[in-house]
């Protein structure tokens, strides 16, 4: 710190003190609700997921096949041109074994999360999803995986229609 500054303001408090109610606090809940318009591209993507398919968009100019699909190519800055069906298999680009949930609480069973590069799309076109039916210690970058879908009648047109990806050959 600068020599001119001699004291540092601030009262540190510990989580325990806060829980014990040592300091006056106000607790409130905030419940905003949203109904996001998925838009043209994602609506179609979700509809196809319900059918057990993964679709992508193609840009004729750079010839990339984009997944998740989008109606505009962000590199060429022009509308994309065509719907293309891609495979539901892919390669693990990277993965992680998560022991904590969304609110930082410890999980009993770790979540196996990965970025899966989808076969049929351009190189590096990955989506975020989970892995399953695999021992955490056996997961490796470059592993070939296959989507495991919910039963057709259970699908809702959501990313969770794919339960997880499992290694091919297992």
């Amino acid at each position: 710190m600068s020599q001119k500054i001699t004291s540092y303001p601030g009262h540190e408090i510990t989580p325990e003190e806060a829980r014990e109610g040592k300091y006056l606090d106000i607790v409130y809940k905030f419940e905003p609700k949203y109904s996001w318009a998925a838009g043209v591209a994602i609506s179609r993507f979700l509809t196809e997921l319900k059918d057990g398919k993964i679709v992508a968009r193609k840009c004729y100019k750079c010839e990339r096949i984009l997944v998740p699909p989008r109606m505009y190519c962000e590199q060429c800055y022009r509308p994309t041109d065509e719907w293309v069906q891609v495979k539901d298999t892919g390669t693990v680009n990277t993965f992680s074994i998560s022991h904590v949930g969304t609110d930082a609480r410890r999980l009993k069973t770790p979540i196996l999360v990965a970025v899966v590069d989808i076969d049929g799309a351009s190189r590096g076109m990955g989506i975020l999803h989970k892995l399953g039916e695999v021992e955490p210690s056996k997961i490796a970058v470059g592993m070939k995986v296959q989507a495991v879908w919910k039963r057709p009648e259970e699908r809702q047109g959501a990313i969770t229609d794919i339960l997880y990806f499992r290694p091919i050959g297992s």
Partner: protein, 368 residues
């Protein structure tokens, strides 16, 4: 901390004004930076805390680029002055993460795509651990090498008066710490914190009247990469490279590795320091780990990195953390960093922050 966002902002602003020998009357505009409103629990929090900052009756804008905000706030101050509109600008970064229950981590759930990602139960740690894995895989870097950064920074932080987690630890301690989201372990990560930091910028003519030792903001740069982070190669932060090049061009820096004397890259996770050093062109791709292991980035090394203790050691109140780095470079370039002062004669320093879904890089080059 007990202080409210307004009080945190006030303390930081007051400290900055006092140390510059100015009062609020001398300040012509204010730029503030703070990351997600979700933490403080107020919508439009830029409006909420502006009285604590001293922005009442003044032109005020809140800049916001996720985690990159801390270094971006003085960049906002820079354009307020460089445009010629104002001569003095107070830049304050504030962050109060503790109000969010059950854990500040929760706010990060809503940074993910609402339709394609959140239903999977996302948590911020995922993107870091995914990136860390990719980085390690591509360049063959070991977790032990990365852990050296945590050891260095937490050790450096012992000398920082505001440090939350300053401690002398070993690589072994890091390796044995609880795995949170493999390969990320507890000691690889910085904690959520509350804090605020401020700097005062002034135009050349005003600065020269105020002090004999001004530190000049010679280069600024920022870049935002595509939303579709799962389509990018996470092993290399291209957005940091572009932001750095923008700042280097402005500052007239041709060979960063030689010309930068001290650096404060953003280190919310230990591997991030390495990742960013490479993006900043201060280390070749995949080579930053070796630099660390070899001691180059220690305070007495050839390129001291995070002499403050960084986010890993001092704490990570998102926006304020980036500003803390700016302040550290300021003190280092003036020789006022006390026990944290780097050994070499530091004339040119760099501060960098990162944010969003592995997307934004904000860089400043400062010279004394």
């Amino acid at each position: 901390m007990l202080e409210s966002p307004k009080e945190l902002s006030f303390e930081a602003s007051k400290m900055a004004l006092d140390s510059a020998g100015l009062t609020l009357k001398d300040i012509q505009s204010v730029v503030s930076g703070s990351a997600p409103d979700a933490f403080d629990g107020v919508h439009m929090k830029g409006e909420y805390y502006l009285d604590g900052m001293g922005a009442v009756g003044k032109p005020h804008e809140r800049v916001y680029v996720g985690g990159g905000t801390g270094v971006f706030t003085p960049i906002g101050g820079w354009w307020n002055i460089a445009s010629g509109l104002y001569d003095t600008c107070l830049c304050v970064a504030e962050e109060k993460m503790s109000p969010l229950h059950p854990h500040p981590q929760y706010a990060f759930w809503s940074i993910f795509d609402q339709i394609l990602e959140r239903p999977l139960g996302t948590t911020l740690l995922w993107i870091f651990s995914l990136e860390m894995r990719r980085y390690m895989h591509k360049y063959g870097i070991k977790e032990e090498e990365i852990a050296e950064v945590a050891v260095k920074n937490k050790g450096n932080a012992v000398d920082h008066p505001c440090a939350q987690l300053g401690a002398k630890i070993t690589v072994d301690d890091v390796m044995r710490s609880e795995p949170i989201c493999e390969p990320v372990k507890r000691l690889d990560v910085s904690p959520p914190s509350d804090g605020a930091a401020a700097v005062i910028l002034a135009s050349e003519k005003v600065a020269k009247k105020l002090t004999d030792q001004p530190v000049w903001l010679d280069g600024v740069g920022w870049t935002l990469d595509s939303t579709h982070w799962t389509n990018r190669d996470l092993a290399y932060p291209e957005y940091v490279e572009k932001a750095a090049k923008m700042a280097y061009k402005m500052a007239g820096i041709k060979n960063p590795r030689k010309e930068i004397d001290v650096a404060e890259p953003y280190d919310p996770f230990d591997y991030k320091e390495l990742h960013h050093l490479e993006g900043l062109q201060l280390a070749g791709k995949g080579e930053a780990a070796k630099m660390t292991v070899d001691g180059v980035t220690q305070r007495d090394g050839d390129l001291p990195v995070c002499p403050s203790g960084g986010l890993l050691g001092v704490g990570n109140p998102i926006a304020a953390a980036g500003m803390m780095k700016i302040c550290e470079i300021f003190w280092q370039l003036r020789g006022e960093a006390g026990k944290r002062q780097v050994k070499k004669d530091a004339r040119t320093g760099l501060a960098q922050a990162w944010g969003d879904l592995m997307q934004v890089g904000t860089v400043t080059v400062m010279r004394s």
